[in-house]
Amino acid sequence: MEGAEEAGAEIAVDSKDLQQQSKAFDKLTDRVEDRQLDSSRVQSAMASIAASREADLNAKRLREKELASVKINPADVEFIVNELEIEKNVAERTLREHKGDAVAATRQLLSRYPL
């Protein structure tokens, strides 16, 4: 009986030691498996990013052109600047966004007041 107990303990100790040894070996070596980069994927991703940015810029330019082409009444701009005490460029942009409709622009600029 005494010999059997000693044998079990030795087996357990051996297995733990083995695990610890394997972990230590893993930490010592910093080997990483090689992974080859897919250059075609990279190129397509970069191309799509550039394309989307280009599209955004084009959309912005189109929007600016559309807004610039909207005719606004200088009297309306002056009225909004004077009465609502808003900067001129903000007033002009709001008027352009609402296609020169002074009432709609005024309503939006006053929309933070509940009524």
Binding site: F79, E97, A102, V103, Q108, S111, Y113, L115
Partner: protein, 442 residues
């Protein structure tokens, strides 16, 4: 007297709402009148609470100077309009005579058609940055129907009342003043507007005083804080619109402004204590005007005429200033509003804003879809747009659209007043005076 003034000032300071504090919500009460209701009743509901202390208003000397300039320049621009009497009372008397002559003239068929139409109007009334709502608005289209052997005439009543101290005087005016005017109009055959209005206002003032003495309603909080109601009063600007004339009776510092050919014509002048003639009248009566956060009668009341205010009589009278204006084709709309609007918005700005709204709707009636195109709007306005579209689809009448235009104009004016940090209740009534004959021709 010094103690009384000191106490009033202390309570006035306490009752002054702070813009930075968010405790008091901006009370919103909007009133939409459907055109189908010819005689709307009691549409205005306000809180019958008393604000602590005496009514406190912002007074601007610039506004007063501007009023003088505004009243003088229209008379110069239109010298032929002798009927526009803002300062000379003799002209209104002659107007009375001329109106008698007009009654005798046989009207044409077009006149008969015109007289039957009801003016479009819009109302907006908000509590703003005060604790209690003390304004009241009275709208009574076709409140007097006069029949002669030639034609059938309808008169329309619009009134704005701005209470101070408590709201029961303004509420009482809302309920009774148009009935008094109606009685005077039906009993008087000569149509002397000045006397009719003065009698109506005097009777209203006496009724308010009697009501304050006898009826002790539990809803009024002024009863719980002060032993009497003598410190409560109300301004009143009243407009009666007939097919031929616009009659404006003003008592206090609310205002009526007519837009004629794109220009703002004030039909009433504010009764401020520092107005030269008002100052003379108060001093001759034995009172005194003390400048305390603005000119005040006895340092208490920031206006020189009001309905009620029993303990300030005879310095504060209820005699209205009546103007009778002939209607012309160039009349576009009429704005009645309390000083919560006029303290922060000029007459020209208000007229420009309302003109934009009315011309926009009538000019682009066919392009409703474009109104919905801009998508940058808050959810509330989106809902408003939906309601408008649904309403217009259901009825499909042009009058409906124009009524909504008037309501929209009044709402925008109210928002403009709030945006400019008006510190008072704001009540606005916009009345479209354009003849529909033009629209039929177009």
């Amino acid at each position: 007297m010094a103690d009384i003034c000191y106490e009033d000032e202390t309570s006035a300071c306490e009752s002054r709402p702070l813009w930075s504090s968010r405790k008091w919500r901006i009370g919103v009460q909007r009133f939409r009148m459907s055109p189908s209701e010819m005689n709307p009743t009691a549409s205005t509901t306000e809180e019958e609470d008393k604000s602590e202390g005496i009514y406190n208003k912002r007074n601007k000397q610039e506004e007063y100077d501007f009023m003088n300039c505004a009243s003088s320049s229209p008379s110069q621009s239109s010298p032929e309009e002798e009927s526009v009497s803002l300062e000379d009372s003799d002209v209104s008397i002659s107007d009375g005579n001329s109106s008698v002559n007009d009654v005798a003239v046989i009207p044409s068929k077009k006149t008969v058609k015109e007289t039957d139409l009801r003016p479009r109007y819009g109302v907006a009334s908000v509590c703003g940055r005060r604790r209690d709502m003390e304004d009241a608005v009275a709208l009574h289209p076709s409140f007097v129907r006069k029949q002669t052997e030639f034609s059938r005439t309808r008169w329309h009543y619009f009134g704005v009342y701005d209470g101070h101290g408590c709201s029961h005087v303004a509420a009482r005016c809302k309920e009774r003043l148009h009935e008094l005017v109606q009685e005077e109009a039906l009993s008087d055959k000569k149509e002397e507007w000045k006397k009719m209005m003065e009698r109506s206002f005097t009777r209203m003032d006496k009724e308010v005083v009697r009501w304050g003495e006898t009826v002790m309603s539990a809803n009024c909080r002024c009863e719980l804080q002060t032993p009497d109601c003598d410190a409560v009063g109300s301004t009143a600007v009243v407009s009666v619109i007939t097919p031929e004339k616009i009659i404006v009776a003003n008592c206090g510092d609310s205002r009526a402004v007519l837009c004629r050919n794109g220009k703002a014509v004030p039909l009433s002048t504010d009764h401020k204590p520092d107005r030269p003639d008002e100052l003379d009248r108060i001093q001759e009566a034995g009172g005194r005007v003390i400048y305390w956060d603005g000119a005040r009668v006895l340092g208490v009341l920031a206006m020189s005429r009001a309905i009620g205010d029993n303990y300030l009589k005879p310095y504060v009278t209820s005699e209205p200033e009546v103007t009778v204006t002939d209607r012309t084709e160039e009349d576009e709309f009429l704005i009645l509003a309390t000083d919560g609007l006029w303290d922060v918005v000029t007459n020209e700005a208000a007229c420009t804003m309302v003109r934009m709204c009315l011309n926009r709707k009538s000019g682009r009636g066919r392009r409703r879809g474009e109104t919905q195109t801009p998508g940058r709007r808050s959810e509330e306005e989106g809902k408003e747009e939906e309601e408008k579209v649904v309403g217009s689809r259901k009825n499909g009448k042009r009058g409906e659209i124009t009524d909504k235009a008037c309501t929209e104009a009044s709402v925008l004016l109210t928002k403009l007043a709030l945006a400019k940090h008006s510190s008072d209740n704001v009540s606005v009534v916009v009345i479209d005076l354009r003849r529909r004959r033009k629209r039929h021709v177009a």
